[in-house]
């Protein structure tokens, strides 16, 4: 079967790697359509012929569920994003950032999950008000990355998944922002529910998850003591770890 997969643009490179494996393993084919989560959501609501939707957030799948547009029980978190502070030139810290006049690139909190996370991080660290007027907001995390990569903004809060070998970056403490849960759903109108379920199973499989992890995401599954896979529930906020704060703020 051919599965039409709608994927949030940030996850597309990862999904392409996964797709190869999936196609080999199952013989199904994937047609990957990438766009921003908001666009994909609007398209799905208005009749887009997708089978599976890999969102960059948890909220849109939730909304689809409320509308009754998904196969019951098909919503799963498939990866979790991680924020990093990236300055390709001289490395910098959030403290320096608070005190100097440099611009800081984040994704737009209003429309991008990474943006929301960045805002939470900065607020929780108490430096939002310092940097707010210097923020440059990308419409997506990809754009935010481009702002920094092109050298137009010296520092940005981007996704770890975007970092490539040799990039110097600082991982931000995940306690300071709500987990960037990326959920997937199977759409109710899919003509290939079985293949779709196979795909979901595949994504949650250990091998897939380790590949996802290697692309810079938190894996969402852990092995149970008895070796069976369980879904990781990272919904509760982790307790704040003072030491991590210090290091995030001060370490260069």
């Amino acid at each position: 079967d051919i599965l039409k997969v709608a994927v949030a643009a940030n996850f597309k490179p990862t999904l392409e790697d996964l797709a190869e494996k999936f196609e080999q393993e199952t013989g199904h084919r994937l047609l990957i359509s990438a766009a921003s989560t908001g666009i994909l959501f609007n398209q799905i609501v208005n009749g887009a012929p997708f089978d599976i939707f890999l969102s960059a957030d948890r909220q849109r799948p939730e909304m689809l569920k409320e509308k009754g547009m998904i196969l019951p029980g098909s919503q799963h978190t498939y990866a979790m994003g991680e924020l990093v502070l990236w300055s390709p030139g001289e490395s910098t810290t959030l403290v320096e950032l608070r005190d100097n006049k440099a611009r800081l690139a984040i994704a737009n909190p209003a429309i991008a999950p990474y943006g929301l996370a960045a805002q939470q991080l900065l607020e929780n660290l108490g430096i939002w008000s310092y940097v707010e007027s210097r923020l440059v907001k990308g419409a997506s995390i990809q754009q935010t990355w481009q702002f920094v990569a092109s050298g137009n903004v010296p520092v940005g809060l981007v996704a770890k998944a975007q970092m490539v070998d040799g990039d110097q970056y600082t991982v931000m403490p995940y306690e300071y922002y709500d987990p960037i849960q990326q959920d997937m759903v199977i759409l109710k109108r899919t003509p290939h529910p079985d293949a779709a379920k196979q795909f979901v199973e595949f994504i949650l499989s250990e091998s897939a998850q380790s590949l996802i992890e290697s692309h810079g995401y938190f894996s969402v599954v852990k092995k149970d003591k008895d070796g069976s896979l369980i879904e990781k529930a990272l919904i509760d906020k982790a307790p704040i770890d003072r030491a991590r704060i210090e290091s995030a703020l001060i370490k260069d």
Binding site: A9, P13, L31, A34, I39, N42, Q43, N46, G47, A48
Partner: protein, 226 residues
């Protein structure tokens, strides 16, 4: 992959340009000769798609095409498929989006045409259609080429509407501009540069060719004043 995107793009741009010209030529002629007071209103309506961001225009087209609403429902029951996320839908959307860029230069050219020539043709027994095809269109050749180029180029470069309406489905609605966008988004800059370079080169060759076609009409009569 890229090959199919190129193919879809060329098909889309060509079909769209043809439909655009077929629709815009009579529309522009009608507007150009309209005596009514509502002409500026109609002209403004034709120009309106320009002021909406393409993605937003695409969004509203999505709503229009959606089976959730009357128009889309009607289309669905008529043809058995939705307009959105189909090649046909892309063509419809591109036509709407690029229409002003084709209608307006044509309308201006038609307005500037010397009416005396049409009177002369009429006196030789040429009816309205005859005059239109044998005088109006040949005399507006430059404007037709320009309008066609604008429509074609704009459709190739178009992206927001296509993304919204098309859904980026490879082989069906994934056009080059989206592939290019994807490449930039997924940091495949090598590929992005190649696609962008290829697009520019192709456009350059096409435009130079078309613009060279009517060298002759542009030739000056040797006057020193300009």
């Amino acid at each position: 992959m890229l090959i199919t995107a190129i193919w879809v793009t060329l098909k889309l741009a060509t079909i769209t340009t043809i439909i655009l010209l077929l629709l815009s030529i009579p529309l522009a002629w009608w507007l150009a000769n309209m005596q009514s007071r509502i002409r500026p209103i109609l002209e403004a309506i034709v120009g309106l798609p320009m002021v909406l961001p393409p993605t937003v225009l695409g969004f509203y087209l999505l709503l229009l095409f959606s089976p959730n609403y009357a128009a889309g429902q009607a289309w669905l029951s008529l043809t058995g498929s939705t307009l959105a996320f189909s090649f046909t839908g892309l063509v419809v959307a591109s036509v709407i989006y690029s229409m002003p860029f084709v209608v307006q230069p044509l309308q201006r050219a038609f307005e500037q045409l010397d009416k005396g020539l049409l009177e002369a043709a009429a006196m030789m027994g040429a009816g309205a259609m005859d005059r239109f095809f044998n005088i109006v269109l040949p005399c507006s050749r430059r404007a037709l080429v320009l309008a066609g180029c604008m429509g074609f180029a704009h459709t190739i470069g178009e992206f927001g509407v296509v993304l919204m309406i098309g859904g980026n489905i490879p082989g069906e609605t994934q056009v080059l501009s989206i592939a290019l966008f994807d490449a930039v988004e997924s940091q495949s800059f090598e590929m992005a540069h190649q696609i962008a370079g290829g697009l520019l080169l192709f456009a350059m060759v096409l435009l130079v060719f078309l613009y060279s076609l009517d060298r002759r009409s542009g030739k000056s009569s040797g006057s020193r004043v300009c």
